[in-house]
């Protein structure tokens, strides 16, 4: 089976700063992989490699291969817009557009040239259902996205990412700004989404990584120190540094 995503000897520099040091990684389709590690170890940087968001950063240089479905996306001739259709991203803070709930979800679809009302309605409903938000907003789709709660906004952003039917979803600390109830809703959602998507999630919440992911990768100062089944990482990590981190003995 070809892995869904893979990196081979991935090196990333911000100017002179070596932020990712030879990462060899692979994840199969329909799995959730959690990326953990202390702040500044390169988790977000790693995540952004899969949608080429690092391209937007001046002086950022990426070497090595980054493969999605076996195709190297670290190629200057790649059509980045096409890539970003396949790869959705959800950020730490919910960042809905100052538009209606409906238009937030329809946004990516419109960009992709879908304007037929019926199709838009269908796809928006489907995405909102997948994001476990439909029941709460179905009677208020015209309401401003800025007027719903933070937890609902984050699920709206997930719906927006899912609407264009990506196959890979990147989440960078998606629940760190949410209350416990919204957090558990999003976690539940992540667990269900892996039926259709492959998910990479950065989290600072160790228990969240343990609850939602199949595999866990521990990063430390630009290196991937240990990568294994989540159950192994949390019961019997092979490397002492990993154990120290997950047991809270250093941070």
């Amino acid at each position: 089976m070809t892995p869904k995503i893979e990196t081979k000897n991935l090196q990333l520099y911000y100017g002179a700063h070596h932020a990712l040091k030879g990462i060899d990684f692979s994840a199969n389709a329909n799995t959730v992989t959690a990326l953990i590690g202390p702040s500044g170890c390169g988790k977000s940087t790693f995540l952004r490699c899969f949608n080429r968001m690092n391209d937007l950063i001046d002086g950022c240089d990426v070497e090595g291969q980054i493969l999605i479905d076996g195709m190297n996306i670290n190629d200057r001739y790649l059509n980045v817009d096409e890539l970003r259709k396949k790869v959705g991203m959800v950020f730490q803070k919910p960042n809905p557009f100052p538009k209606s709930i409906f238009e937030n979800v329809a946004y990516g679809l419109r960009i992709n040239g879908i304007n037929e009302k019926k199709i838009l309605e269908e796809k928006v409903e489907k995405a909102l259902k997948q994001a476990a938000l439909w029941e709460e907003v179905k009677d208020n789709l015209k309401k401003s996205a800025m007027s719903i709660s933070g937890g609902q906004q984050q699920r709206l952003c997930i719906a927006r990412a899912l609407a264009v039917e990506p196959s890979l979803v990147l989440m960078d600390e998606p629940t760190s700004a949410l209350d416990p109830i919204s957090t558990s809703k999003v976690e539940e959602l992540i667990y269900q989404l892996k039926e259709k998507y492959t998910i990479l999630i950065v989290t600072h919440n160790m228990q969240q990584a343990a609850r939602v992911s199949d595999k866990t990768a521990f990063f430390y100062i630009g290196e991937m120190i240990e990568y294994n089944d989540t159950t192994e990482i949390f019961t019997n990590p092979k490397i002492e540094r990993t154990q120290n981190y997950i047991t809270g003995r250093f941070g």
């Binding site: 160790m206 228990q207 343990a210 949390f234 019961t235 019997n236 990590p237 154990q243 997950i246 047991t247 809270g248 003995r249």
Partner: protein
Amino acid sequence: MTHLETELGKLKGDITGMFILVQKQLNKSIQSLLAMDKDLAREIIAAEKRVNAEELKIDRVCENIVALFNPVAVDLRLVFASFKINSHLERMGDNAKGIARYVLEMNEKFDTELIEKLQLKEMFSAANKMIDENIAAFENGDSSKARLVFEMDERVDAINFAATNIVADYIKANTDKTVHLLNLMSIIRKLERVGDLQANIAEEIIFYVDAEVLKHDKSFHNKL
């Protein structure tokens, strides 16, 4: 030191305390047996309540640590191992009390020559040594000490096995003492159980320290 480390340190102290408490119970039970000291036997039975209370307290400590700290990896293994060691120790306490019960029922001392022949004192000191090794292994996270316990358990098992024929011969020659001698056999069985429980505890310590599961692995240590 993190808050969790402090709590785990306390838990370890509680388990060591429990070890020492039941080891004392066992020592007293043998002493009371050899001397037919009924006062001491009563003391053991009274102290059993403390063993039970201690067991419940440690269960609660384990439960709280899991609920409040979500321990993982070696920390989680320590809590799980402690939880099970606690219950093995409580059962060892039951065996000591069981011996004390027999002492209360009996009216005469055992024949010294028979006790010698049965190697009762050796059996007892082997069980005691197992407890010592387990305490050291647990306190220092030293699984090599726990691994020694399996061999000692084999010694205890062998003495137990040999006892059946020895006691049977004695019964034939002393039919008037049949009940007395059967009681002695029951006591030996209880000591054998103590050995088994210490071997179970050694397994838990190895799981805690080395993340290795030895249970039901017959090739590693053969139990009768």
